[in-house]
């Protein structure tokens, strides 16, 4: 399995996700500079976390107009799985590949902590190795993770089963206390209608091996590997 990670100026989790992909998939990982215009042949595209363009103007807004994004959109439409993590999720929303926006956290503060997530949807290339309804633990680290969409969009996302990850407590309940950023419906991650483009605020690459304190993130990459084979 071949992966490609887009590097924007200000990306800062690009290396982290490269390391995780290499270790989990065993395949090559190409780093693609944002100024390039064509993606290399790849089985997976990742938009990593960070602060593309310093988050200036609006998170993800300028990165969505980087030269490489035209081909990322084209490849996504052709069915190549695209994973946007944290800032990558914000870029996917700004690029129109996913609906809604990520607003400033309700606390108005950056938050870095472990969160519990419920797997709401196993029918995506990123979640096929999980059990429906399973509660997993990942880390978040963001200042703008407060998912917002208009009511019709939210209803459609829920109705179509496109909410993939939801912040929950130990009992699997989507409580306000379990929600680190005020996201509507405790949404942590969503996918597009074809279930090939996924955006999520938590960082699977930060909990993918025991030395990091957890391994649940590993299974997101394992799911992609299993889906492709």
């Amino acid at each position: 399995m071949k992966s490609a990670v887009v590097v924007f100026p200000g990306s800062n989790c690009d290396r982290d996700v490269k390391v995780a992909l290499e270790k989990v998939t065993g395949g090559p990982v190409r780093m693609v500079w944002h100024a390039e215009t064509a993606m290399p042949a790849t089985d997976l595209i990742v938009l990593p976390g960070g602060f593309a363009y310093g988050d200036y103007l609006r998170t993800g807004a300028m990165a969505a107009h980087s030269p490489i994004m035209r081909d990322v959109v084209a490849k996504a439409k052709s069915g190549i799985p695209v994973l946007g993590i944290c800032n990558g999720f914000q870029v996917l929303c700004e690029a129109g590949l996913l609906p809604g926006v990520l607003m400033r956290n309700a606390s108005l503060k950056f938050v870095c902590r472990d969160v519990l997530l419920k797997i709401e949807q196993t029918g995506t290339p990123f979640t096929s190795c999980f059990q429906q309804g399973e509660v997993i633990r990942l880390s978040v680290a963001h200042g703008d993770g407060n998912y917002f969409a208009d009511r019709a969009t939210l209803e459609a996302l829920e109705a179509d089963g496109r909410v993939v990850f939801r912040y929950v407590d130990k009992a699997g309940q989507a409580t306000p206390e379990a929600n680190p950023n005020g996201a509507q419906h405790n949404i942590a991650g969503i996918c597009d209608a074809q279930r090939r483009v996924l955006g999520l605020m938590p960082h699977p690459e930060r909990l993918f091996e025991p030395m990091l304190g957890g391994t649940d993130g590993r299974r997101i990459f394992e799911s992609v590997l299993a889906t492709l084979h």
Partner: protein, 736 residues
Amino acid sequence: MDAKAAASITPEVVAEHGLAPEEYQRLLEILGRPPSLTELGIFSVMWSEHCSYKSSRVWLSQLPTKGPQVIQGPGENAGVVDLGDGDAVVFKMESHNHPSFIEPYQGAATGVGGIMRDVFTMGARPVANLNALRFGDPSHPKTRHLLAGVVAGIGGYGNCTGVPTVGGETNFDPGYNGNILVNAMCVGLAKADKIFYSAAKGVGLPVVYVGSKTGRDGIHGATMASAEFDDKSAEKRPTVQVGDPFTEKLLIEACLELMASDAIVAIQDMGAAGLTSSTSEMADKGGVGIELDLDRVPQRELNMTAYEMMLSESQERMLMILKPGREAEAEAIFRKWGLDFAVIGHTTDTGRMIVKHKGAVEADLPVATLANSAPRYERPWMPTSPPKVILPEWVPAPNSILGTLKTMMSGPHLASRRWVWEQYDHTVMGDTMQQPGGDAAVVRVHGTNKGIAATCDVTPRYVLADPVMGTKQAVVETWRNLIAVGADPLAITDNMNFGNPERPEIMGQFVGAVQGMKEACAALKYPVVSGNVSLYNETNGVAIPPTPAIGGVGLVPDLAHMADIVLEAEGNLLVVIGRESGHLGQSLYQLTATGKVEGAPPPVDLADEIKAGNLVRTLIRETKVSAVHDVSDGGLLVAVAEMALAGNVGVQLFPYEGKLPAHAAWFGEDQGRYVVEASPELAEEIIERARLLALPARVVGKIGGDALSLRGETALPIADLRTAHESWFPHYMGTT
């Protein structure tokens, strides 16, 4: 120089530049003529306390700075220590106190940016940030605002650059009401054979400016940082710089990319006193002259004068000396990252710094004199008289040991700092091996099984009472914290924050601190490799408590043998190792029980420290202990409570049956102690091994249940303790 310009240098203008009349006389003698305004500005910043260390240098030169592990000691942008296998760790701590008090967000943010540049300019990738923060009394009207701004600023900058902020300390004391302290530490990782230095060796080499454009921000920042505050300090806001962490991130990547080649001769960041100090220090170290054409400096504002450009402290700028002919290759890298790149001059064999602007020579100064002629003061000093030792029985016993514990753990001094560190990205880079809240932060050396441990410590109330002992304690506490995670302590960086050195009692505190540091570092073979001095931390004549913050760095040779404070198994025992005398003078218990701290701080016995430390480290490497915590603020019971909270498990405490008053045994802040978790069989072995070293050790409790319990007292459920411990900060900051 033009006579009219020279005539404009009135005594008032000299005073505004922070130069004493006798210092100006000295400048006249050096030049043999009156300076131009630009030259006066250049000299004033180079001779500021901040840049010249004129009051402290005499004393700092006494510190131990050498050791087989040291690759580069003080005198460069940061210290460099060998990690073995071709790796080196680069680190330094630096203050940004004055600007943070005036404008907390930008002051703290640019402090982080500046210290990171000091580290990556040496060729290291920054891998961990730490900080040591001191605020005034929680009830002081400014404290909340300053705390919120500083924490947001540190997070805002560090998070964006993608360097994890993994540790530090946050304290409150009324002594900081008028002057907060923001000390930022950065730790970087480099290859031992690819360290970059700042000496501009060679004539005719291009002087290259990279990074952000120059604006009028921060002019005279170094001078401000060398003066006391008064009621008009808020007017100094324009001298605080504004940071751009996005540019810093690009600068890190661009510099490291260029450093992978061999195009760079020398490199230095433009920190305090910007272009002035970087050019003069690089030229001086290389033994060359330097000629600058300011028309080529990338500028953000119109009609800037030579004076303004030479004194600007605009952030995110670096100065490089390149090998001839390598400009195009370097420029391509910086352009790719969207950064400015300009050749602004060249090195010469004249030994002079010549600054040209719009066809005129604005400054023509001897480099060596500029860099080295700052006055050196042996300021008069008065030693701090040693306070009397408070005996344990003089401090009243509490009604309830566990009730007092809960009170202490839920107050400003010991409450959880989660509110602070959750605003810092502490897991980016994927190498964070220990979450904040333990004894020392540990980050993995990327791609290996080794770890770098780092910690920042000082207990200012100890230093105020006895600068020598208090500073010795600060050094050994960092050493102990490194040992407690299983590291070999390697070296320290120091950040000396004091009041006005022109007052003999303040200078006496400084001299005492240096003495204490010297003794501890020498005994522990734990040299000082970098540091920073911040003086004049006074407002309206009231000085801060003397605060020599120590940043310690160590190596965990094998991460499989790393310890943390998390209790693991029910039925295991907790053993305290180290000598107990129930010292309550200057303790948090004394503060809780009597409302004040007094007397001598706990004494440090360096020989005992070494014995206890070596034993604990050996036990960690033999995997005989499953949790380790050093005993510090609040004493033994607080250490046990912190371990229980981390492990989310109760501890049955064994009643104290020794000769001391029980409250002194539980809350005394005796030094050189660790609490370790071990199985009952191994606990016996550990006590025996300690005995062979003539170190006391005893069992203090057994892990089990869901509460801290002690015979004759109401049990304290861990859940209640956690709520109390976690709620002070959010409640205080108004976020509950």
